[in-house]
Symmetry: C2
Subunit: 191 residues, 2 copies
Amino acid sequence: MFSIYETYLKTKGNFTADEIELIRSLAITKTLHQNEHFLKEGEQMKFYAFICKGCLRNYIVDENGDQHVLKFAMENWWAGDRDSLISGIPSVTYTDALEECVLIMFAKDTFDKLCQQIPALAVMIDTLFHRSYVSSFKKIHEAVILSNQQKYDNFNQKYPALIDRIPFHMIASYIGITTEMLNQLHNDQCK
Amino acid sequence: MFSIYETYLKTKGNFTADEIELIRSLAITKTLHQNEHFLKEGEQMKFYAFICKGCLRNYIVDENGDQHVLKFAMENWWAGDRDSLISGIPSVTYTDALEECVLIMFAKDTFDKLCQQIPALAVMIDTLFHRSYVSSFKKIHEAVILSNQQKYDNFNQKYPALIDRIPFHMIASYIGITTEMLNQLHNDQCK
DNA sequence: CGATTCTTTGAAAACAGTCAATCTGTGTGG
DNA sequence: CCACACAGATTGACTGTTTTCAAAGAATCG
């Protein structure tokens, strides 16, 4: 499974064979079965976790016990609650596996040291963080101005085929509409 | 005006007198009059810009020529398009002054070098970036699940008195509702 | 004071959410 | 292997909210 991560690294920067080997030596592989929790509210996230296989969902539970999906993460993404990881504070979100998952993980301390030793790795993470800031800004704007129809179209464009992989009510929660509405939009499209 | 920035710095980290002096020596003060453009679409943002006084708005113009307000920035915030600044790409947004503004600016290269020399400054910026990532996540979630009424309440809580300082239609654009709707919510509250 | 921009109002239409009932598929225990 | 329970999907009627449109009133700026 490390080979998937190695491929990912090679698309993100120039790493020497030695560096790859060093990274490999410190990687921890973890598997999750379907519906298994990866991180719970109140727990601190202590590992960088890269997804080699599978799909996870990140969500919060409000005071009424209702769940709100904040994001989905799948192959070649990073999983979990970044705020908890970086700030060292307890997570306010839950993350769990929607499918069988295989993760490549690194203890936070280990990974931070690696970043100091391997400049390309530090650049990769900085870029990643910057990118996700930019994309989250874009997502705010979309949430604000788009109609339900447009949100639906957008979702399908951004996550092709994900709608066939994840229960409707979770996608509805993610894009901020009701399950009934999502269903109707989906029907309209298939006509 | 630098004293305002100095006060800001002191709340964000421990800076020595020498460091403050070094920062001061490289600062550029700029004033903007009301409605003056600070940054246009297509231009590259080349300065870190801290707001000592005044209020700016950051927005995009869509294919129909309609403006969409992405954010407001005022005293003790940073102005402009961060993506352009960090990535060195042309800005996709406009930023202009809603009032007379005074900015403390630093050329990007200059500031990046300062960060290397002054660890507290680098930490400050990292924290700032991380924070705004986290808060953007919160804002997405709010845009997705809150009713117009709640968005209005939220805005007033987060930006007290800003509603008396900025034209209604810009605030409406920012929170993603029509001017008429905002007006009605505002009336209801005053009853 | 004239032009422009911003705010306010109300009616009609479009839109989205709620609710309740039904349908479907999956997995479990007998 | 069947019957049942359960979670998720689907449907339609109803309700409430939000937008659109049009028009008029205030405020601001040159």
